[in-house]
């Protein structure tokens, strides 16, 4: 297939935004489907089973005093591209103060309504309909953690996105990203099979050209002042409906990176990405 000799052109964005309006429209149509655990977003719901423990355990291992009954207490998290709040809610339940942003207003409305029934969540989560750039000015170095799960494959300008992440993150703060690799395999399984054949992802959700290979992501992160700590492959089993950690990053993968400390200069020399396997609950 000559597809794979595509030269990928980064969409030239004239807008000063990492948000792609075409992408926004896709999500608008499904805004009310977020919370149906067996519906279109079933795979994202079950992704919580590995991404929440990944975030939780990484943060626990970085902190020295924590309470197992409230593991993320006191941590301020920004959930970029929060959608209907699927990831914001479990993080808030574990004690974190979560700010969820999403450019699609309908998503924020759905998220707000869903959290409103739970008094604990209603207090711990704040949702805002906004792009990342729009909140940068008022949130410089505000957050301990940023989570961008299944988002970077939808943004228009990835470099600007990462740069904004760096600006709103406190020094030594953590950035968690989950996304999809751009490989032959991810085209066949991630788009053809997942969208068109078995329909576990709503059709048209993804564009293969915008998938991000981990090497490129790492490069962008390191050149923006981040030190990449972990890159793990993830695999979805459509028969069991569950995710697991795997060696290979050719399909989905998760990244944990840490913003370098007080010095503004990026430490490009001494940070070699270490890969270690995470994902085992304590």
């Amino acid at each position: 297939l000559s597809l794979f000799r595509f030269t990928v052109k980064r969409p030239f964005s004239t807008s000063h935004s990492s948000v792609d309006s075409k992408e926004m429209k896709k999500f608008q149509l499904l805004a009310h489907k977020w919370w149906d655990e067996e519906g279109e977003y079933a795979a994202l719901h079950s992704m919580n089973d590995i991404r929440v423990p990944f975030i939780r355990d990484t943060l626990l291992s970085m902190s020295s005093n924590y309470h197992l009954g409230n593991p993320l207490s006191g941590i301020k998290i920004l959930d970029v591209g929060c959608g209907g709040g699927l990831l914001s809610e479990p993080l808030a339940r574990l004690g974190a103060s979560v700010t969820g942003i999403d450019p699609v207003e309908d998503n924020i409305r759905t998220a707000d309504r869903h959290k409103s029934f739970d008094p604990v969540l209603a207090k711990r989560i704040q949702y805002k309909s906004s792009s990342l750039e729009e909140i940068v000015e008022e949130s410089m170095e505000t957050f301990d953690v940023i989570v961008a799960s299944e988002v970077v494959e939808h943004v228009a300008d990835l470099e600007m996105f990462i740069s904004c992440c760096s600006q709103v993150l406190k020094p030594e703060g953590s950035l968690f990203i989950t996304t999809i690799n751009r490989t032959q395999l991810s085209y066949v399984l991630g788009i053809v099979v997942a969208e068109k054949i078995i329909g576990i992802v709503p059709e048209g959700t993804h564009e293969w050209e915008k998938f991000v290979p981990p090497e490129e992501l790492e490069r962008l992160l390191e050149s923006n002042g981040f030190s990449v700590k972990t890159v793990n492959g993830m695999l979805y089993n459509p028969l069991s409906g569950s995710w697991s950690w795997v060696e290979s990053r050719s399909l989905n993968y998760a990244v944990h990176a840490v913003k370098s400390g007080a010095r503004a200069q990026s430490q490009a020399t001494d940070t070699a990405p270490e890969t270690d396997t995470a994902g085992t609950a304590p």
Binding site: D36, E37, N48, V52, L68, G95, F117, V120
Partner: protein, 409 residues
């Protein structure tokens, strides 16, 4: 759950129809409702600190269990090789008291509503059309309303939660009632053996309470049960002794066949036939301690639904002949607590079907085989027909000789 660290900031409400039961002072006489607690259940109780209270109140460990047939000499003996306790006979009231104490210890997280009754339940609509509250609403008899993310139905074999959740229950009433009583033995003994004899009318079991007292559980026909309750104490004691000691149901044919099989086994496996111990004889019954209750079997087709879980007798009801009813319930609790704990530690919504279904699968796999086996045993032992007696005689003898099978039991 109240003692689980991952439930640190969760709120649990316990609706209890009965009054608060706590012993400040242990009564001298034994209660006639007792349970055989397996080591696994004891572990569960000690994980929340309740077992210590049980030990400080009273309980009786037993080391051995002898089960035999009224129609033949076949017998099977269970005991642990390392002289560990096989199980414990504990009065139900003692367990309740121990649990009450431990509930007090987590009163900031668990609120117990004694003497309460739920009169109405409102189930949540499917999750993605949430204009109304997505939680379960419970209305109490006194007018209070509670709402919860997860409703656990532990309300017995006539579970209202199960009925209101419209979960189907496969059930079958046995034509039997169980007669319970507290008995005093003729002479004090070590009394660390549990005895059960299968009579054609039903199994009779003697569970040790102390060196000179045992608890009776006699499953028999409704009519016979009423007779037993009505007769005077001496006749009652005579019936019990005769049930354990008489050989009227033996037939020469069966005895011969059994003996032959036994010698065959001792050729193949010399250690395969155990020493037959003699059960104690009963001298007296505690007045007022006789009671009866009907028996049946039941199994819910589903243990869980969105925001609902059934445990214990609400999910499954079993004949007491195997002494497993309450242990199945404890097993349900341990399993559900594990899954809920993991879910809480992952920030999940506690009422989510995902982990509830894992609990259901795990427990159904375990429970169904045991419940079916108990039912089969009950039916198999309810007859005096020679072929079936022979079958079960040989089966029992063979099982007695095969350690792997016995250990599994």
């Amino acid at each position: 759950l109240g003692h689980n660290i991952h439930f640190h900031d969760k709120k649990i409400a316990l609706l209890e129809a009965g009054p608060r039961k706590e012993y400040d002072h242990l009564p001298d006489s034994y209660s006639n409702r007792v349970s055989s607690i397996s080591p696994g259940s004891a572990t569960l109780l000690s994980s929340c600190g309740a077992w210590d209270h049980v030990c400080s109140l009273r309980f009786k460990p037993f080391r051995r269990m002898q089960v035999w047939d009224a129609c033949s000499e076949a017998m099977i003996v269970f005991e642990k090789d390392d002289l560990d306790d096989m199980g414990y006979i504990v009065e139900n009231d003692v367990i309740m008291s121990a649990l009450t104490k431990q509930l007090d210890a987590v009163a900031d997280r668990v609120e117990v509503f004694y003497g309460s009754k739920a009169v109405g339940y409102t189930w949540p609509l499917p999750s993605h059309s949430c204009d109304t509250s997505p939680w379960v609403q419970v209305e109490l008899a006194d007018g209070r309303r509670l709402q919860t993310k997860l409703l656990i139905g532990a309300d017995g074999h006539n579970s209202v939660v199960r009925k209101k959740a419209e979960i189907n229950n496969i059930e079958h009433q046995y034509d039997q009632s169980a007669v319970v009583a507290t008995l005093h033995l003729s002479e004090a003994t070590d009394n660390n053996v549990a005895w059960q004899r299968f009579l054609p009318t039903g199994p009779i079991a003697l569970l040790p309470l102390s060196d000179n007292a045992s608890s009776l559980v006699w499953s028999t026909s409704h009519d016979h049960a009423s007779e037993l309750l009505a007769m005077d104490e001496e006749s009652f004691v005579d019936s019990i002794n005769s049930a354990f000691w008489s050989n009227t149901n033996h037939s020469d044919f069966i005895d011969a066949a059994g003996a032959m099989f036994r010698s065959a086994i001792s050729l193949l496996r010399p250690s395969g036939t155990a020493v037959r111990q003699l059960p104690p004889s009963v001298a007296k019954v505690d007045p007022e301690s006789r009671a009866m209750f009907p028996l049946g079997m039941g199994h819910a087709t589903e243990y869980v639904q969105h925001r609902v879980a059934l445990i214990g007798d609400a999910a499954h009801r079993v004949h007491p002949l195997a002494g497993q009813g309450v242990n199945l319930g404890f097993g349900d609790i341990a399993c559900l607590a594990d899954h809920l704990s993991a879910a809480a530690f992952s920030g999940s919504d506690l009422g989510s079907l995902k982990h509830l279904l894992k609990f259901e699968t795990e427990r159904q796999r375990h429970n169904v085989s045991l419940i079916a086996a108990t039912d089969v045993l009950k039916r198999l032992y309810s007859t005096t027909l020679a072929p079936l007696v022979l079958l079960r005689t040989w089966g029992l003898q063979a099982t007695n000789a095969l350690p792997p099978v016995k250990v599994r039991i």
